[in-house]
């Protein structure tokens, strides 16, 4: 029963990972850029919400209404100032420039807020600890369910947006081939900037929940980036629903690892990621050399 409890909570934790991963996945899908400052942007979002709550005492959900457009604007500026130039200069530059940005954000946060861990728990009432007891051994946190529901809704929303709206189609066209997209009247630069704004908005949502579900500190960004990246890769790069699956796999692995040994929470997640990676490469090599039919006893 205790294992079932861990698995259920692992699935719900996967919702959070999908939430933080979908912005990364979107940027990678559209611009073919992995933004190394992604996790730090989420932490920045958490700090902005915290700052407003701390000064006004309002609910983090209300504070978020102000943070969301700020982060969207930041995404736009980020694209125009840094990513746009990086995109045109090969593969090294986006990695290097976003890594530089990550260092800048982390240390600016540190200079403003110091090393202390912060949390939104004090301004969110009983939501931080309320839970439903399904049986005597299975507890489900209300916040975890809320985060999971938001993640599913956000992925659904993004899915419909990309498939059904004109802007969504423009984004998909540009991600396929920016030059051809421009030929049919799409402004690729504007599309990139819009995508970056949307991606960073989803990061703001992830930041809100990062602050609500746990404590956070200025240097917490890299860990979030790695979780997001692992969810994207496990789920298969470029697929939004795959991101949810990847997040869930990661969440379950971490919770089961922690159940075996409290120190293995992170390690179990990372090792699962590496195992998936190795397994996938191994499978691809086997397929490339036509060895699967041989293994199955067929003639190739």
């Amino acid at each position: 029963m205790i294992w079932l409890n861990q698995i259920i909570n692992g699935v719900l934790l996967g919702g959070y990972y999908a939430l933080i991963a979908c912005g990364l996945s979107l940027m990678f899908g559209v611009m073919n850029i992995i933004n190394l400052a992604h996790g730090d942007l989420a932490v920045l979002g958490a700090f902005l919400v915290w700052l407003i709550c701390e000064h006004t005492g309002i609910s983090p959900f209300i504070a978020f209404i102000a943070v969301l457009p700020t982060m969207a604007a930041l995404g736009w500026v980020l694209q125009r100032a840094i990513l746009d130039r990086s995109l045109r200069s090969g593969i090294l530059v986006p990695i290097l420039s976003t890594f530089g940005l990550a260092i800048v954000i982390e240390n600016l946060l540190f200079s403003q807020f110091g090393a202390d861990s912060r949390s939104l728990a004090s301004v969110m009432g009983s939501l931080s600890y309320d839970s439903w007891a399904l049986t005597s051994q299975i507890y489900i946190g209300k916040l975890a369910v809320l985060i999971f529901a938001v993640a599913v809704l956000l992925l659904l929303g993004l899915h419909v947006f990309l498939k059904r709206t004109a802007l969504g189609r423009a984004i998909r066209a540009t991600s396929e081939d920016p030059d051809t997209a421009e030929l049919v009247g799409i402004n690729a630069r504007a599309v990139y900037a819009t995508s970056a704004a949307i991606a960073v908005s989803t990061v703001a949502i992830a930041g809100l929940f990062l602050g609500m579900r746990a404590s956070f500190a200025p240097y917490a960004g890299p860990a979030q980036l790695i979780f997001a990246f692992e969810a994207v890769v496990i789920g298969g790069s470029g697929s939004l629903w795959g991101t949810l699956v990847g997040g869930i796999v990661l969440g379950i692995a971490q919770n089961i690892g922690a159940q075996i040994n409290p120190n293995w929470f992170l390690l179990a997640g990372h090792l699962t990621f590496l195992a998936v990676l190795i397994g996938r490469i191994f499978l691809r090599e086997l397929l490339a050399h036509g060895m699967i039919p041989a293994l199955l006893g067929q003639r190739s």
């Binding site: 990678f28 850029i33 992995i34 190394l36 840094i82 130039r85 990086s86 200069s89 593969i91 090294l92 530059v93 986006p94 990695i95 290097l96 420039s97 890594f99 530089g100 940005l101 990550a102 260092i103 800048v104 982390e106 240390n107 600016l108 540190f110 200079s111 890299p222 980036l225 790695i226 990246f229 692992e230 890769v233 790069s237 120190n263 992170l266 390690l267 990372h270 090792l271 990621f273 590496l274 990676l277 190795i278 490469i281």
Partner: protein
């Protein structure tokens, strides 16, 4: 039809012959430093040599093979950790440090098999995950005492001054060795092939370059260099706190030095390490605003000066100190003719 011109390919230029001579003289002079300089100066020089090693190794990986890693601290930490383990097993401490560096490099061989099949950004963060995993695994070892860490106690058997001198010579030797290895490698067929891979992997494969083999050699060399730097850092610091050795700030330093000095040039990372060392000496140890500045400078160079300081100098003045590339020499008559034509065009 163009007539066949007597074009020659030149590797050594008079400048580069002179530069190599000066370099050898400098290294010989530096070897005598422990007899002349004080303890503080020697400690600083050891730090500088370690910076040169990690910058040059990161540059070999990113600047020449096109593999941007933000996880080289994995090898930095593992080199130091392996040295502690070997020393604990009873091996003489300086041998343990050297073997630790080799062990850190050895681990990269099985890793290369799947890491090098990742592309660009995936490789970058994938290496980061490897570093995090290495950190988490090392902390599990009872000998290390978790994040509290331990120290290389066997070193304290040596008198402080002897220890400093031995570590200094080891660091100088390691720096010369790794720079020489890169130099030889870049002048070989492999150097040309990895650069071809960096510029266009498919095209390189199409003309018969063995893509994976070239990458594996550079990856293992870079890992061994980072592991050696970690072991040397342990030799000066003596204490081993996992978070310090496996911290991502090492990647930030490597990127900064290689990028500012000149990515994809031999001399660039040496210049970058020297600049980084001087900046750190002036601004003192790692303040927050200092790191913000580091990040901003890295963004600036990535966007506006991707060839770095040395690359820009090379491009503008055509200087090559180290003969790692090829240059085409046209006969003087052709150069003259082209110049007259140019002048005529400008005049009309």
């Amino acid at each position: 039809m163009t007539p066949k011109m007597p074009v020659s390919v030149q590797r050594w230029t008079p400048t580069s012959v002179a530069a190599i001579g000066v370099l050898i003289a400098i290294v010989v002079a530096l070897a005598f430093a422990p007899f002349v300089l004080g303890a503080n100066a020697i400690d600083k020089l050891i730090t500088l040599y370690i910076y040169v090693i990690i910058a040059a190794m990161w540059n070999a990986l990113a600047g020449y093979a096109g593999l941007v890693s933000v996880g080289q601290q994995a090898f930095f930490g593992l080199g130091a950790y392996a040295a502690i383990r070997l020393s604990n097993a009873g091996i003489e401490v300086y041998s343990a440090l050297a073997l630790g560096a080799l062990a850190g490099g050895l681990i990269s061989i099985p890793l290369s098999w799947f890491m090098l099949r990742l592309r660009d950004g995936e490789f970058a963060i994938g290496m980061w995950v490897v570093a995090v995993v290495a950190h988490l695994l090392v902390v599990q070892d009872k000998l290390i005492n978790g994040e509290t860490g331990t120290s290389l106690r066997a070193l304290t058997a040596y008198a402080a001054n002897d220890r400093r001198a031995y570590t200094y010579w080891m660091a100088l030797g390691a720096m010369v060795l790794f720079l020489a290895l890169i130099f030889v490698l870049l002048r070989s067929r492999l150097g040309a092939s990895v650069q071809a891979i960096r510029d266009d992997e498919e095209a390189a494969a199409a003309v018969g370059v063995r893509v994976l083999r070239g990458k594996v050699i550079i990856f293992v060399l870079a890992a061994t260099g980072a592991a050696a730097a970690g072991a040397l850092w342990l030799a000066t610091a003596i204490s081993f706190q996992p978070a310090t050795y496996f911290g991502v700030q090492w990647s930030a330093y490597m990127i900064f030095m290689a990028l500012v000095g000149g990515l994809g040039t031999f001399e660039g990372p040496i210049l970058g390490a020297l600049l980084f060392f001087l900046v750190q000496d002036v601004f003192g140890e790692v303040g927050v605003w200092y790191l913000v500045g580091l990040g901003l400078v890295a963004i600036f160079f990535a966007l506006f000066m991707p060839r770095g300081i040395w690359g820009t100098i090379e491009d503008r003045f055509g200087i090559r100190l180290m003969p790692v590339g090829y240059r085409l020499r046209l006969p003087d008559s052709v150069v003259l003719a082209a110049k007259t034509e140019e002048d005529a065009a400008a005049g009309s």
